[in-house]
C-alpha cells in the first residue's frame, strides 16, 4: 500500500510539471531562423562558417599535398613511395554545403530578414551564391558535370517518393554554363571595393571565377581530342569542340572587364624584383590579390610555415616537411636564356662548372625564383642560407666526397655539411632536396613554432591570373600577337626576364607554371590542356615525371686549383621520392563513388571506371 502511495505521488508530480511546459521549452543552445536572420552579426557568423569550409586541393593546411605533383617533394622522414594518382585525389562532393547555402538564401529572404538593408542583403546573397558556385566549380573540375539542384531546400519525410530527390548529372558544358551565368548575376550583387585581406568575395572575385570557368571549359572543348576516350556518352565528361570559341570569348571579355575595372594591378612596390614577387603573393592586403583564404593570430592560424621552414631559421623542431624539387627551380628561365637548366657541368659534360659563391649558379634567374624558393646562397629575411651536402676532394683522378652530420665542421673549422643539408637520410626534419619553400612561408620566426603557427594567407585569385587568362584567350582567338605579348610581357617584365615577341600555348603553360607555383593551379591546368599524361608519363627516364635534387659541395683540396670553389650535383631523388609520377587517362576525372550511385541511381559513372 505504501508503495502504491509513493508511485501515485511521483506520477502526479511528473504530470503536473509536464503541464507547466517542462518538456516544451525552447532550446537554449539552438538558435532559430528568426534569431539568426534578423541579426547582422549572426548572418556574418554563418557566412564565416561557409568560408571556412571551402579549401580543397593544395592548401596551407595540408602542406604534404604539395609533394604529389612536381613542385615539391617530401623531405622529412623517409621515402615517398607514391607513383600513381588516386582515383579520388582532391575530389569534392559537397551537397551538404550547397544545401546549407540554400537554407541561408531562404533565410535572408524570409520575413525574419525583412528589416535588412537592401544593399547589405544583396551583398550577403551574392556571397552565399558565390560560395555555392565555388563548390560547383570545384566539383566540376574534379568530376565533370554533376547534378544542379537549384535553390530549393530539399526535405525528406517518411513515405515520400525518393526519386523526386534524385537528380541526374548535368553535362560538363551545362555545369560550366551554370557557373558562368551565376557568376554574371553574382557580380551585379556584390560590392566593387576590395575587402579586408581579400577574405570576402567581391564583384571582381565573381568575375575572376567566371573567367576561370570559361577558360577551363574552352580548353577542355579544344583539347579533349588529345584524349579521345576521356568522355561519356551523355556528355557528363567532355565538351564539344565547337563550343571552344564561345568560351574563349567569354573568358577574354570577362578578364578585360577586370583589367578595365582598375581596382587591381600587378604589385610593384619594391624595386628588388625578387623581394617584390614574394610581397606580391605573401604581403596581406596588397592591391594584386583579389580573393584569399585569410588566417589570423590568435585562433585562426595554419601550420604551413612550421611544416616547410628551413632548418637553420626554424623556431621549433619541425622543418622541411616539403621542399622544392630541382625541377621547379630549373623551370624558371634565365634573363638571357629561356632554358632555365642550371649550368653545373661544362657543355661537353667533361667537368664541373666551378663557382666562387653558391648563389652564382642562380645569377640572372627569373626574379620569381627568389620569391618562390630559398636556394643555396640566398637569404631568408636577411639571414644568409647555406646549403652544403659535403666537401669534395680530388684523388686518383676522380672527385670524392666527404660528408658528416648536419652542422659539423672539420679540424680546420671549415663546414662539412650544413644545418640545412641536404642529405639522403630518412631522418625527420632533414632537407633532402637542397632548397626550401619561400612562397607562403612567413618571415615571422614565431610563425614556425607549434604553439603559435602562422597567419600567412593563401592566395586563391590575383590579378596576374587575369593577365594570363587574357593572354591565353587572346592567343586561342587568334588576336594579334602584339596583344597576346602585351598581356604576358607585363608579368615577365615584373619578373625581370626578356619580353616575348611571339607566344604559343607552350609559353602560356610555362609562364603559368612558374608564376603560380604552390597556388593550386598546376594540377588543374595540366588536366584542362590534356597534357598531364605526357608530363607525368610514369617513365623514370622522363625528367618532368621524376623528382630531382641539387646537392651543393664545397671543394676542400689545397692541392687542387679550384680549392674553395662550389660545385653542384644533380641527383634523381630516389631516396626521398622513389618513383616517377604516372598520370593515367583515368586521372583526368575523379571516379564517381559507388555509394553515391547506390543512393541516386541516376548518376552515371566516369570514364575508366
Amino acid at each position: 500500500m505504501k508503495k502504491i502511495n509513493i508511485l501515485l505521488i511521483i506520477t502526479v508530480t511528473i504530470l503536473s510539471v509536464n503541464c507547466s511546459g517542462f518538456l516544451d521549452r525552447e532550446s537554449e543552445s539552438i538558435l532559430s531562423d528568426e534569431q539568426v536572420f534578423s541579426d547582422q552579426n549572426m548572418i556574418t557568423s554563418v557566412l564565416a562558417n561557409y568560408y571556412g569550409r571551402i579549401d580543397w586541393g593544395q592548401s596551407l593546411e595540408r602542406g604534404g599535398d604539395y609533394s604529389i605533383l612536381d613542385e615539391a617533394c617530401i623531405s622529412t622522414a623517409g621515402p615517398d613511395n607514391r607513383q600513381d594518382f588516386g582515383n579520388d585525389l582532391w575530389r569534392v562532393y559537397d551537397y551538404t554545403l550547397i544545401r546549407n547555402v540554400n537554407q541561408f538564401l531562404k533565410g535572408i529572404n524570409s520575413d525574419a530578414a525583412a528589416d535588412l538593408d537592401p544593399a547589405y542583403r544583396n551583398q550577403i546573397e551574392g556571397e552565399a551564391r558565390f560560395i555555392r558556385i565555388w563548390v560547383y566549380f570545384n566539383m566540376c573540375r574534379c568530376m565533370g558535370g554533376m547534378p544542379i539542384v537549384g535553390d530549393e531546400v530539399f526535405e525528406y519525410s517518411g513515405g515520400m517518393d525518393i526519386t523526386t530527390l534524385q537528380f541526374p548529372r548535368s553535362t560538363e558544358a551545362e555545369l560550366y554554363n551554370y557557373i558562368i551565368n551565376e557568376c554574371t548575376a553574382i557580380a551585379n550583387l556584390l560590392p566593387e571595393e576590395p575587402t579586408i585581406n581579400a577574405a570576402r568575395a567581391n564583384k571582381w572575385a565573381a568575375l575572376m571565377l567566371k573567367a576561370r570557368a570559361a577558360i577551363y571549359a574552352a580548353s577542355i572543348a579544344k583539347y579533349n581530342y588529345l584524349t579521345p576516350d576521356v568522355k561519356t556518352a551523355g556528355g557528363e565528361v567532355g565538351i564539344p569542340a565547337n563550343l571552344a570559341a564561345g568560351y574563349y570569348e567569354t573568358a577574354y571579355n570577362t578578364v578585360n572587364e577586370i583589367i578595365a575595372g582598375g581596382k587591381y594591378r600587378l604589385y610593384t612596390e619594391n624595386p628588388d624584383k625578387g623581394a617584390n614577387f614574394y610581397e606580391a603573393v605573401c604581403q596581406k592586403g596588397n592591391y594584386e590579390v583579389i580573393w584569399a583564404r585569410d588566417y589570423y593570430y590568435p585562433g585562426g592560424t595554419n601550420n604551413f610555415t612550421n611544416y616547410a621552414i628551413a632548418s637553420s631559421v626554424r623556431g621549433d623542431i619541425d622543418a622541411n616537411g616539403v621542399t622544392p624539387t630541382l625541377n621547379i627551380v630549373e623551370a624558371f628561365e634565365y634573363k638571357d636564356n629561356r632554358d632555365g637548366t642550371l649550368r653545373t657541368r661544362t657543355a661537353d659534360d667533361a667537368d664541373y662548372v666551378y663557382y666562387d659563391n653558391p648563389q652564382d649558379v642562380f645569377a640572372n634567374k627569373d626574379a620569381r625564383l627568389y620569391g618562390t624558393v630559398v636556394y643555396p646562397g640566398s637569404d631568408f629575411n636577411g639571414v644568409p642560407m647555406t646549403y652544403q651536402a659535403g666537401q669534395k676532394y680530388y684523388e686518383n683522378g676522380e672527385w670524392k666526397e666527404r660528408s658528416s652530420n648536419l652542422g659539423s665542421t672539420d679540424s680546420d673549422g671549415d663546414l662539412i655539411t650544413a644545418d640545412n643539408g641536404p642529405d639522403m637520410s630518412s631522418s625527420q626534419f632533414v632537407n633532402n632536396s637542397g632548397f626550401n619553400i619561400r612562397k607562403f612561408v612567413s618571415y615571422n620566426r614565431d610563425a614556425s613554432t607549434r604553439g603559435r603557427l602562422s597567419d600567412m594567407w593563401f592566395v586563391r585569385m590575383r590579378y596576374a591570373e587575369a593577365l594570363m587568362i587574357a593572354a591565353e584567350a587572346a592567343l586561342e582567338l587568334g588576336k594579334p600577337q602584339t596583344e597576346v605579348c602585351g598581356y604576358i610581357n607585363q608579368i615577365r617584365d615584373r619578373a625581370g626576364i626578356l619580353p616575348l615577341t611571339s607566344v604559343t600555348l607552350n609559353d602560356i603553360v610555362q609562364e603559368r607554371r612558374v608564376e603560380f607555383v604552390y597556388e593550386n593551379h598546376r594540377w588543374w591546368d595540366l588536366k584542362r590542356w590534356r597534357i598531364a599524361h605526357q608530363v607525368w608519363d610514369g617513365n623514370s627516364e622522363t625528367y618532368s615525371a621524376t623528382h630531382y635534387s641539387l646537392f651543393p659541395y664545397r671543394i676542400k683540396d689545397p692541392s687542387h686549383p679550384q680549392n674553395g670553389k662550389w660545385v653542384f650535383d644533380k641527383l634523381r631523388s630516389t631516396w626521398t621520392s622513389t618513383y616517377p609520377r604516372r598520370f593515367e587517362y583515368r586521372n583526368y576525372y575523379n571516379f564517381i563513388n559507388q555509394d553515391w550511385i547506390n543512393r541516386n541511381p541516376k548518376i552515371v559513372r566516369n570514364p575508366y571506371q
Binding site: 607513383q83 579521345p228 576516350d229 617513365n539 604516372r582 583515368r586 550511385i597 547506390n598 571506371q609
Partner: protein
C-alpha cells in the same frame, strides 16, 4: 550458489557462441572461377603487373552494389574464388587494350566454372619469334590492325629480371621502342650486354602501345633468356 552461477554463465556462453556460428557468417567462397580475355578464341597478352587490367564482377539482387575486380594476368587469363551464384562480368570503360564496348557477360558459377571474355583489340601480335645472338636480342612478329581508329604509339622489345615484363617503370630493365612501326612484319633489336652481365635471370617480351589508350597489347608468353 557459486557453482550455479558458473553453470549459467557457461551455458549462456555456449549458447551465444553456437548461435553466432550459425547466423553471422556466409560460407567461404569455394568455387574456382577461371577464364581468359580472348579475340577470336585466342588469348590476348596484357600488362600483368600493378593491377593494370581487370574485369569487374557485379551481382544483382542486393540493395547496395559494389563491384569487385578480377585482375587479368600477363597471358590474358584471370581466376578468382567465388561463392556460387549469378554474376555479371564487364570491363571497366577504357581499361585494357581493346575497344571499350563493355559487353556484359552473365556468368553462372556453380562449382568450378570456366568462362572467357571476348573483346575486340585494336591490334594483335602473332608469329612472335625471339632469338639471341651474342649480346643482341632480336624479336620479330606480325602486327595486325583490327580496327582503324587508333594509331600505334610504339612497339617495344623489353627485358626484365623477373617474369613480369611490360611498359611500366620498374617492370623492364632495358627496352627499345619504335614509334614508326606500321602493321606488317616488325623486327626489333636490343643490345643486352649489360643485362646479361648484371642480372641473374632475364626474360623478354614484346608489346604494342596504342595511342590514346592507357594499355598495350603484349605477347602472351615471356621468352626466358637465362
Amino acid at each position: 550458489m557459486k557453482t550455479l552461477i558458473k553453470v549459467y554463465v557457461l551455458a549462456i556462453l555456449i549458447a551465444v557462441t553456437a548461435a553466432s556460428c550459425g547466423k553471422d557468417n556466409y560460407d567461404k567462397p569455394e568455387s574456382h572461377f577461371t577464364g581468359k580475355v580472348t579475340y577470336n578464341g585466342q588469348a590476348l597478352g596484357v600488362r600483368g603487373s600493378n593491377g593494370s587490367v581487370y574485369l569487374q564482377f557485379w551481382q544483382d539482387g542486393y540493395e547496395l552494389k559494389t563491384s569487385f575486380n578480377v585482375y587479368v594476368t600477363q597471358d590474358g587469363t584471370y581466376s578468382s574464388m567465388l561463392s556460387d551464384g549469378v554474376y555479371k562480368l564487364v570491363t571497366a570503360s577504357g581499361n585494357g587494350p581493346w575497344v571499350s564496348a563493355q559487353d556484359t557477360v552473365i556468368v553462372t558459377v556453380n562449382g568450378d566454372t570456366q568462362k572467357d571474355y571476348e573483346v575486340t583489340p585494336y591490334y594483335t601480335l602473332s608469329n612472335i619469334n625471339y632469338s639471341v645472338s651474342g649480346n643482341t636480342l632480336t624479336a620479330s612478329f606480325d602486327v595486325a590492325s583490327v580496327t582503324t581508329d587508333r594509331a600505334i604509339e610504339y612497339v617495344a622489345l623489353m627485358v626484365n629480371k623477373t617474369q613480369f615484363v611490360d611498359f611500366g617503370d620498374g617492370t623492364h630493365v632495358n627496352w627499345v621502342r619504335n614509334s614508326e612501326a606500321t602493321p606488317g612484319r616488325v623486327e626489333l633489336q636490343l643490345d643486352i650486354s649489360n643485362d646479361l652481365a648484371n642480372q641473374k635471370a632475364l626474360y623478354a617480351r614484346v608489346g604494342l602501345k596504342i595511342d590514346g589508350v592507357g594499355e598495350g597489347v603484349y605477347d602472351t608468353n615471356v621468352y626466358k633468356i637465362k
